[in-house]
């Protein structure tokens, strides 16, 4: 059973989003997503400063099984990318919700965050897919 922590927001494409105190949000892929992909061998991150639209492709996670696009859950500007993943993509497998975060962005519209799935709704989607 994969972990779906309370207090985070989720997308149906298996990203999680955490609101930070400085008004930015941190984005990663969920435990369920990393489990499906298997051991990651490569992570491509968006450039800091890039503007992204909601649902826009802005990264790639690649495992021995498959390569998957990562979509930005919100429109905004990328403020940070987790450079540690370049040398250690396995962090996403080991710690998807903490050390394995992918990037941070400053949302164009902070209220848009509320429209994403909460833990309960995301869990319901996983149950549906199983």
């Amino acid at each position: 059973m994969s972990e779906v922590p309370e207090g985070l927001k989720y997308t149906s494409s298996h990203e999680w989003v955490r609101a930070e105190s400085d008004g930015t949000v941190t984005v990663g892929i969920t435990d369920h997503a990393q489990e499906l992909l298997g051991d990651l061998v490569f992570v491509e991150l968006p450039e800091v400063g890039r503007g992204v639209g909601s649902g826009e492709e802005c990264g790639v996670v690649e495992s021995v099984k498959a390569a998957s696009d990562v979509y930005s859950p919100l429109a905004g500007e990328i403020t940070a990318a987790n450079e540690a993943l370049t040398d250690a993509p396995e962090l996403v497998n080991q710690s998807p919700f903490a050390d394995g975060w992918l990037f941070r962005l400053r949302p164009a519209d902070a209220a848009a965050l509320d429209k994403l799935l909460d833990a309960k709704a995301y869990q319901a989607q996983l149950d549906d897919e199983a």
Binding site: D39, V41, V64, K65, A66, P89
Partner: protein, 486 residues
């Protein structure tokens, strides 16, 4: 052990080493080596043993059942090999004048014509040297067509989510943005989504039919109409042509471009990643853009068509005229089986797949598309087994090797969890198919009673489970002298 590790200074195969140093007087000094190249120094017998042993480690169509889905691992007839190795073919220099190349050119011309007839396209070029190059050539022709008409706003290529990964890659290489089209529950392209996606920005759609889900796209003429009405073109990925060879022609379905994989459908060897051949066929309006060279027949003479004949061609795909050896083998194969044989290829490829699908269903395996008839391949999902026994599709695949069968394609297409994509081809006997079913049934029983046995497989091969994660993370492909690095 690498052959480099067997090297001993000064040892050589005297019967094969040159006895005199060639005089070099026409190469500028800057390009000459100052030291000899780092080649392994071994005796002739060491070299023979090394490569014979390597060949014995092969798991190949010549030694085992090889149901690798979407790869069409059919038997490569020895006759095709034998005739392609005739010294008159082998010794022909690629720059030999046309008058000295009439035999080879006659074969290439006939193959162009046979592929044209069996696919229903207006013209065929044999130039692309692999399937991926054929795809690239095909998409480049779509681009050339739109550009020539000044229709340059068409920036999007539509690709169904079931497609081979090479499709989006080829589109991107030609400068297109890829738009994914979802699949409905029956495995067909979602027509509503397609209608919503097409528009003045649509350059075309890349379709594999039958699709990688092992089902025939039933509404292909409707798809062709939707895309054509939007001004886009239809690209046919020939990966699964084996299922319909001689039965249905992509040209009649409305496709504008097609690539074929001769190493799949026309029984040439897959080799260790090559060489292959990916001829392209086109409808009349794309003919000017075909890659060169092509062969033309004028009176009873054959001649190469080049830039002067085809000024609008997308150009050359390689230095010469495609992979000549592969083209010859495919020509022999096509001649051996003839037009009637091509239809029988499709008959038996689909019969074998449907027989295997029916037997596996009876044995209690879950099909991904139980309502659909299989084409030349079909998908089993081991989702239930994975949940009940903790044994994955990969574990089943590895254990199959111990039972003397190559594994089917695993985890592709990505749409189906824990899947095996199984393609028996027309080459196999009923006994071989039955043995495969029996092996899968036994592995499932093992998964239930001794899951660790299955998870530890294989046990009977030269290597056990390879560390594919480490292999991908720490790429190490080149031997360096003095490192002892394997």
């Amino acid at each position: 052990m690498l052959i480099f590790d067997q090297s001993s200074p000064g040892r050589r195969a005297t019967s094969q080493a040159p006895s005199a140093v060639a005089a070099v007087d026409d190469i500028p000094a800057a390009f000459l080596r100052s030291e000899p190249p780092g080649l392994p120094e071994v005796s002739e017998l060491q070299a023979v043993r090394h490569y014979t042993r390597l060949s014995q480690k092969n798991f190949s169509i010549d030694t085992h059942f090889y149901p690798l889905g979407s790869c069409t691992m059919k038997y490569n007839p020895r006759a095709a090999n034998r005739f392609a190795l005739l010294p008159e073919f082998l010794a022909r220099h690629p720059e030999a004048p046309e008058s000295h190349s009439q035999g080879f050119m006659a074969c290439a011309f006939e193959l162009q014509e046979m592929l044209r007839a069996v696919t229903g396209m207006a013209a065929v070029s044999l130039a692309p040297m692999a399937g991926a190059q054929g795809e690239f050539a095909g998409v480049a022709m779509i681009r050339a067509y739109h550009d020539a008409r000044g229709d340059t706003a068409r920036a999007e290529m539509l690709v169904p989510d079931a497609a081979h990964g090479t499709n989006p890659a080829s589109a991107v290489m030609c400068g297109y943005k890829v738009r994914e089209i979802p699949t409905d529950e029956q495995g067909d392209v979602d027509l509503e989504a397609l209608r919503a996606a097409v528009g003045p920005q649509t350059a075309g759609i890349m379709l594999t039919n039958p699709s990688t889900l092992g089902v025939f796209e039933r509404r292909i003429t409707e798809i062709a109409r939707i895309v054509h009405e939007a001004g886009g073109l239809l690209y046919y990925d020939g990966a699964n042509l084996n299922a319909i060879l001689g039965k249905v022609r992509p040209g009649d379905m409305g496709f504008d471009v097609i690539h074929l994989n001769l190493h799949k459908t026309f029984a040439t060897p897959h080799g260790g990643g090559g060489p292959g051949a990916g001829p392209v066929g086109v409808s009349r309006r794309l003919e000017p853009y075909l890659p060169i060279p092509m062969v033309a027949r004028e009176d009873d003479e054959y001649r190469w068509l080049d830039e002067d004949d085809r000024p609008e061609s997308i150009g050359r795909m390689g230095a010469f005229a495609g992979n000549a050896g592969v083209i010859l083998r495919a020509w022999v194969y096509a001649r051996l089986i003839g037009r009637g044989g091509m239809t029988r290829v499709a008959d038996f490829a689909t019969l074998n797949a449907n027989y295997l699908q029916a037997r596996l269903r009876e044995a209690g395996f879950e099909l991904a598309f139980p309502e659909r008839r299989a084409t030349h391949e079909f998908i089993v999902t081991l989702k239930r087994e994975a949940r009940a026994f903790g044994v994955s599709a990969m574990d089943f695949a590895k254990r199959l090797l111990d039972y003397g069968h190559h594994a089917p394609t695993t985890y592709f297409p990505l749409l189906v969890p824990e899947c095996l994509l199984i393609e028996p081809t027309e080459s196999e006997s009923r006994e071989a198919l039955d043995a495969f079913v029996e092996a899968l049934v036994r592995i499932r029983a093992e998964a239930e009673s001794q899951p660790d046995l299955v998870k530890g497989a294989p046990y009977t091969l030269p290597v056990r489970r390879l560390d594919d994660v480490r292999a991908a993370r720490d790429l190490d492909l080149a031997w360096k002298p003095g490192t002892g690095d394997a």
